[in-house]
């Protein structure tokens, strides 16, 4: 078999995987896309191992590693997806925006730095031994 056959198949698989990761809304489908990319890489590894007639068979050895790691990773990924589903009742990635940086801070209204006595400022007190004693006038 010509080398081109597994190369083309692997590239096609990789491309489909990339599409699935970047463009699908369902989180499980994204994970499936990741699997596709990993297996495309596996295919390439084996194909080149045979093509280059490697005596140590490093390609095929690495493929075994990749399969194992992919399995572990997909288990973990699905566990996370399940947890997210339990928390937000959705696995639509377009709706899961909690990592966004809002204008008023990551997840609460930020400190008002111009208020007269913002005692609780966490980003302005640099570690000194100064402790606020009485309340300001």
């Amino acid at each position: 078999m010509h080398l081109a056959v597994p190369l083309v198949i692997a590239s096609a698989l990789f491309a489909i995987g990339v599409y699935a990761v970047l463009a699908r809304r369902n989180a499980v489908l994204v994970l499936m896309g990741v699997e596709l990319m990993l297996n495309a890489v596996n295919l390439l590894l084996v194909a080149f191992d045979v093509y280059l007639r490697d005596t140590l068979h490093t390609g095929q050895a690495l493929t075994l590693f990749v399969i194992t790691i992919a399995a572990a990773e997909i288990g973990l990924g699905l566990a996370i997806v399940l947890a997210v589903f339990r928390g937000s009742a959705t696995i639509d990635l377009d709706l899961l925006r909690t990592l966004a940086d809002h204008d008023d801070g990551p997840d609460h209204d930020g400190p008002d730095l111009d208020a007269p006595d913002a005692d609780e400022d966490h980003d302005t007190t640099i570690g000194r031994q100064a402790q606020r004693s009485g309340s300001p006038p």
Partner: protein, 510 residues
Amino acid sequence: MSAEARVLLAMIIVPALGSAVVALVPGPRGDRVARPLGAIFGGITLVLAVVAVLAFDHDAAGTFQLETDLSWVPALDLRFHLGVDGISLPLVLLTALLAFLCLAYTMRVMPKAAQPRAFVAVLLLLEVGLLGTFVALDLVLFFLFFEVVLIPMWFVIAVWGDSTPSSTARSAANTFILYTLLGSAVMVLGFLVVHAETGTFDLVALADGAGAGMARGTQVIAALAMLGGLAVKTPMWPLHTWLPDAHTAAPTVGSVLLAGALLKMGTYGMVRVVLPVVPEGTEALAPYLGALGVVGILYGSFACLAQTDLKRLIAYSSVGHMGFVLLGISTLTPAGINGALYANVAHGLITGLLFFVVGGIKDRHGSSSFDGVGRALYARAPRLAAILAFAAVASLGLPGLAGFWGEMLTLLGAYDPSSALPRGLYLTLMTLAGVGAVLTAAYLLQTVRRVCQGPIADAAPRRSSLEDVSSIEALAWSPLVVLVVLLGVWPGLLLGLTDPAVATLLGTGG
């Protein structure tokens, strides 16, 4: 190296040590001993500064003396190079004196936010930065000490300062630190340009080289960057807006050190770093420097005429006085630069005294605005009012007091500037500065009239008599009063030091 030469190093180490000691003494005992301890360390530093003055060879005031030259970062060719000459010595003494007076004053008068340990530690750290800037002879070392000043000052203003309805102490401190940091960033770019062209950071070597090896265009760029950064510190119009808010918010000793020492760093940097290292660049930019200085004089004076708050008024007056210093530097003549250096020192003494007195007035009345202070202070606290009037008269440049010589020599320099500069422009600047001097007299006498004089029945509604000058105030203020008179009647004291140094500066600078 001889003991004498180590005195500058000791002068920087002692306050740093003091700061650490004061901060680390534990528990309530630490709070009790913090202020006396601070005054002691300040006193030791002052003694060291006096020793430096005595060890200084006044006949060779144009050369760098008492040098400490240690290898610091060999890989980058950085040296820990300290030294003083006729230009920096008066400023060192002034700073040490003001810092000591502030620390002594703190023994009895603390800002409202208490915490004496932290306050004294911060003040001592501030002193380290100030003194270090004036004795550093390596560009990176200069920059280092320049920056060391910023953080302690931020704390002094933000933690121990007073808020007003229009701006809080925190925002004033933020404006101060961000603005001056921006200036420093631009300045360090200039330093890097210089280093890239000449290969050294050492100020002595750079001054000797006098811009050799740097094309005129490069010099102008470097000068522009360095002057831009130093101009924020001066403060030069239009980069001055941080100063009024910072002064209004700062506590008394903070204002004294800010006006008396911090503001000197900018113009000192111009004379020490920019003028000798990139003379052609300075020459190209000098007319603009002078023009902006004069704008500052007039702008500051006009702003003062309409002011209703004492501390803000003195802040704007500082913009005006530093405008004179800038004009003097921009003339690039011995008379002008002597005048600028004299005005620098005189301003430190006079404005330091003014802020001390106004701080005392503010503590007594709870406010520094005209309405809050009331009128007829001559009747309520005669000695206090008399010192305020004296300081105001000194500030307007009355001959016979320290302020006169600086202003006069500056204007003399502008009358006959360096031959490379346009004389017509400088004559115009001189005339406008003269108008500014009249306006200065106007607003200062207006202030005395508004605060010290007035119908006796109009005195502040709350009380008709106040505690007059206390003993700690008399102690802290009298050295300043004496020096203002001394430098007014014996100008040779200061000019004898600066004139040879200026001659060397301009001689090598071309």
